[in-house]
Structures are given as C-alpha cells and as structure tokens.
Amino acid sequence: MPLLDVQNLTTYYTTLRGPVRAAEDVSFQVNKGEALGLAGESGCGKTTVALSILRLLPSAGKIVDGKVIFNNTDVVALDEDEMRKQMRWKEMSIVFQGAMNAFNPVYKIGDQIVEAIVTHESDVSKKEAEERTKKLLEMVGVDPSRANNYPHEFSGGMRQRALIAMSIACNPKLLIADEPGTALDVIVQAQVLKLLRELKSKLNLAMILITHDLSIIAETCEKTAIMYAGKMAEYGDIVTIFKDPLHPYTQGLIGAFPSIKAARTRMVSIPGLPPDLLDPPSGCRFHPRCPYAMDVCKKKEPPLEKISKQERYVSCYLVTKA
C-alpha cells in the first residue's frame, strides 16, 4: 500500500488561447520513506504535478481528471478547508522553488515558521511554536538564535535550510522539494542535498524531488519518473533507468549530462525544442525530436506500459508493440 498513489492525473491551465495541457495522464507511486525524482526540462509539467498534489494550483489551473490518493484519502475530492486543516503541512508539505525569494522579506524568519505551525495546528500555542521553531532550525543546521533575523540577513544556503525547516514543521509524511539545488553554489548544493538525505532517513520521510538535474536524482532517489511535455516518458527504479534507459528521450537526457568522472567526450544533445503545450504534437509528443520516430508514433499516442516484473513503465512504441 503506497503512501501516495497518483493515478492518471491531468491538469490543464485555462488561457485566452485555449487550454494548456500541462500534465496529462501522470501516474506514479511513492512509498513511505522512499524518494522519487521527477525529472524533465522546464515546462514539462513537473511543478504542475507537485502543485496538483498539494492542491496549490493558481486559479487558472484545474485538475480535470485523475486521482491523488494519499493514505487512502483522495486529495482531489477534498475541499479547501479540509485540505488546509488535515493535509497541507501535517501530511504533506513543499519546499518551494527559489529559496532566495520564498520568504517574505519584511517578516523575521522565525515568525514565518511559527506562522506555518500555528496556521496548520490550531491547538499549538505561539510559545510552543517558537520552541519548536528553534529545534527545527537546529535540526537543519542553522543557529537557533538566528530565528530573529530577516531573510536578507541569511545567505542563500541558510535560506534554503530555513525553508526546509519550515516545510517539516508539522511532521509531514511526504515532502515535495521543488528544485532544491538550483541557484545555489555546488558546495552549498551538496550540503543541502546531504541535509535532505539525512532528514529523509531520520524522519522516515517520503520525498518527491523535482529537478532538471539528473545527477541530483541519481544521488538522492530510489525511483524516478521522467516527464516530457506533460506526459510521463519513463518511470521505474533508478539503477535500471540510468543503466538501461529505454525511452529515446531518457537516453538523450542522460547523454546530455556530462559526468566529471567520465573521460572528455563530445556532448550529445537532443535536436529541436520542447513543444508548445497549447497545441502539442499528435501521437507521441516526443516524435518531432525523436531520432527513431516511426509512422505509428505520429498517429497514436503510446500508453505508459509496464514492461517488466519490476515496477518499470515506458511509453514508447519502440519498446512496446503498437
């Protein structure tokens, strides 16, 4: 019984030019204490999936189909009040993208964490919340006395740590981290990822790590879901996917990543551009950029199919027969 079971999640954004099909038919599962890496280029729908799970979509965004089952509850069916009182922060929380700007610049860091606790746990007094904030800051490696500082007095790495402290303030079971390493320096990024790994094993947290950087996923996660243009391309155990990628997009993405350990080579790129999601290509959305595209790829959309006894899924006609 997985902790989080996302089934055929489909989210559209309404615009004047028509619906943007940001995420379509996305399905994956996350078990307790397990980390899933959600990878893909910008605009492929990673963040949309995360916001859909937490029901934090902007007003133009709407979940049009699918279920998000969290601990036997369908999150999509909850109303906003139940969502805030029962789910958000207590059960699942998010570390927002861009630690630099995620805090309100005119409030003290500590007060902002206290606010998150008090909003979601109405039985906690302000005093208790302040105590807990200090403990949380200590846990993520920030000196508790810094709770009285304003965000601009924190360095980038410390802001990211404080943001992580805030996200685990109400002991959630699932933590979604949206690009936790971007905009940080390599060394600071390594520190933050180490912290996330430590918290994961200490608190038995389930994690969804959203990133465009496959190497971060390789080091942190057990499973990965590769997304392309709002669809899942490949999903499964991390070792098999990295060693033997089946979808041409996954192959391209892994090839585009230089490794510092490997010999100096010419980097491989994927020609072309990600499509416009207002009017995605027919059939397989990757076919205009795919080096192996066949006739059937242009006409029929490949389903996400299980291809081995292990939990491994691919949506490509090269692997599954049309």
């Binding site: 280029e41 980097m267 790129s269």
Partner: protein, 339 residues
C-alpha cells in the same frame, strides 16, 4: 609569450564600497570589495581556458577586466603582446574588434526592440565595416554558422519570437560576426535547458575551431568545464588557487578547495557513491577576506597558525600545473586528498 593571445599579470580589481553619509563622516577608512586580487595567467591561441569557482569568487569580473569593460586597479593585460591596460577608449576600439563576449542571460542581453539582423550587424556598424550589401552577407553567413537556417527566416524577427537556445545562438553570432580572436563566454549555458546546452557548447567549440579563436570560458559547473576546456583555473575569493591542464586538475587536484569542488559535483550514476566529505559554510565576504590562505576558514585540513598567517605561494608541480597550498605533500594532505 609569443603564442599567447591574452597575458595577464598581477591583475587586481578592488571595488570601493559605497557608504552612507554618516559612515563616511565617522570612518576614515574606505572599504573595498576585493573582487580580483592579484591573479596571473595566459591564454594561448586556439585554447579554451576555463575559469571555475563559486559565485562571488571574481570570475565574471576577471572576464570583464580582460575586455576592459571594467577598469583594473593594478596589473597588466597584454593582448597579443600589446599592453592594453591603460589605452584610451578610442585607442581601444581596434582591439575591441578582436575581442568579444557572450553574456550569461540570453533573455536580458538582447535588445527587445531590435530585429535579429540589427542585433548582429551592430558590431559591424560600430566598427564601420562594410557597406549595406556586405553587412547583409555577413549576417546571413554568421546565422548559417550558428545553425539558424535559413537565415532569411530569422533576420526580421525580434528576440521574443525565439526560444532561449535560439537567443543564445544570436548572442554567439553577435560575438563572432567580427571574427574575433578572443571571446569571453560568461556562463553561456547556465540559463538554458539541459537538452539544449550541449548543442550550444558544441557550436561554440566548432566556431573556435573554424575561426581559430581562443575562449575564456567562465563557469561554476566543473563537469561542463571538464568537457569544454583545455586548461582551467580555479578561483576563490579573487585569487587563483589552482591552475593547469583540465585532466590533471580534475584527476589529481593539489588544492583542498579544488578537491572539495570536485566532490561536490553530483555524478549522474546511481551506482557510484561519492564521498560524503562536504566542506562547511559558505564563501566569506570579499570585503574582509581571511588572512593568509583565503580558504583556511573552510579548509578541512588547515594547519594553524601557518595557513592563517602566511599566504601560500603558487608552486609549479610540472606540466603547467600550479597550486597555492602550504600543505601539499604533508601526511595530513596525502590522507585527505586520497579520500
């Protein structure tokens, strides 16, 4: 040296810290941000020279100093043997034709009101090269070089009609339209998506080979630097800590800071576990850099008081591999670098 395109000796750039009215009245001391503090290196013809380091280490300032986009405080910059450190703007102009820059952010560095052909032909116009027909021809040719084909489809478009990757190609085209001998590439792909990065980098390598130009490639990504550069220099707080052929620096670093940078780079392979040695803290303020070796406050093997008091000299370890660390060869260092 005869075969070097750019030769930098003891280059220094201190930016004065702007202070409030009252603090100027009561403090006599002017504070400086020591962005670049006494660095020397040279870039050979046809070479890709990488400058790596964390943000705030002075990489971008160095790039701009070489092009005289900021004025150096001290030191010398030789361009093909000629001293350009103190040339006036008008004497500088013929040199500007041979040195160009590709900026980091293709969304901010192209004028949104200019068409692609205006953007690319502006350097030609400024330098007064060619008539209308020649300009048109050179613009089409360079667009073909950066693989924006057919050129006629692009010349009358505006930047907002192009994707990030295409914009950066325009940035590259603008730099190469003058057929420069030296190009500063300031993190040219850090704003781009992974699948597009490799294309731009391969394009830049191809152009270097075609025009025989040299690059100063500024980056924070050592994995990319390894695949791009012939030689690299690692900067920290305005100083060069280590410098040498890329393979040597990455495979056998001498400086603990280089070692830390390398272990901090995540490896896209789930079966290799990198060591958990992560150095603590973040880069200190360049206004008041630490004394002695600037890295001693974060160095896992720093030996006090030596590292705190004495600045380590640049030592040659053969094959053009230099490093500035007191502890090279000591047992503590051997043990740390082996891990």
């Amino acid at each position: 040296m005869a075969d070097s395109v750019v030769n930098v000796t003891n280059l220094v750039k201190w930016f004065p810290v702007r202070m409030g009215f009252f603090s100027t009245l009561f403090t006599r001391k002017q504070l400086f941000v020591r962005a670049v503090d006494d660095i020397s290196f040279d870039i050979k013809k046809g070479e890709i020279f990488g400058l790596a380091g964390e943000s705030g280490s002075g990489k971008t300032t160095t790039g701009r100093l070489l092009l005289r986009l900021v004025e150096p405080t001290r030191g010398n910059i030789l361009f093909k043997g000629e001293d350009i450190t103190t040339l006036t703007e008008s004497n500088m102009k013929p040199f500007r034709r041979k040195m160009q820059i590709v900026f980091q952010d293709p969304y901010e560095s192209l004028n949104p009101r200019m068409t692609i052909s205006d953007i690319i032909s502006e350097p030609l116009r400024v330098q007064g090269i060619g008539d209308e027909a020649e300009t048109r021809e050179r613009v089409s040719k360079i667009l073909e070089d950066v693989e924006l084909t057919p050129p006629d489809e692009f010349i009358f478009r505006f930047p907002h009609e192009l994707s990030g990757g295409q914009r950066q190609r325009i940035g590259v085209a603008r730099a190469f339209v003058l057929e420069p001998e030296f190009v500063v590439a300031d993190e040219p792909v850090s704003m781009l998506d992974v699948s597009i990065r490799a294309e731009i980098l391969n394009l830049m390598i191809a152009l270097v080979e075609k025009y025989g130009a040299s690059y100063l490639y500024i980056t924070h990504d050592l994995a990319l630097a390894r695949h791009m550069c012939d030689r690299i220099a690692v900067m920290y707080l305005g100083k060069i800590m280590e410098q040498g052929p890329t393979d040597k620096v990455i495979n056998k670093p001498y400086h603990p800071y280089t070692g830390a940078l390398i272990t901090a780079v995540p490896v896209p392979d789930p079966t290799t576990k990198r060591s958990e040695v992560v150095i603590k803290g973040e880069i200190p303020s360049p206004v008041n850099p630490p004394s002695g070796c600037r890295f001693h406050t974060r160095c896992p093997i720093a030996e006090l008081p030596l590292c705190k008091e004495k600045e380590p000299p640049m030592i040659d370890y053969g094959d053009g591999h230099f490093a500035a660390c007191h502890l090279v060869g000591k047992p503590k260092w051997e043990k740390h670098m082996a891990a």
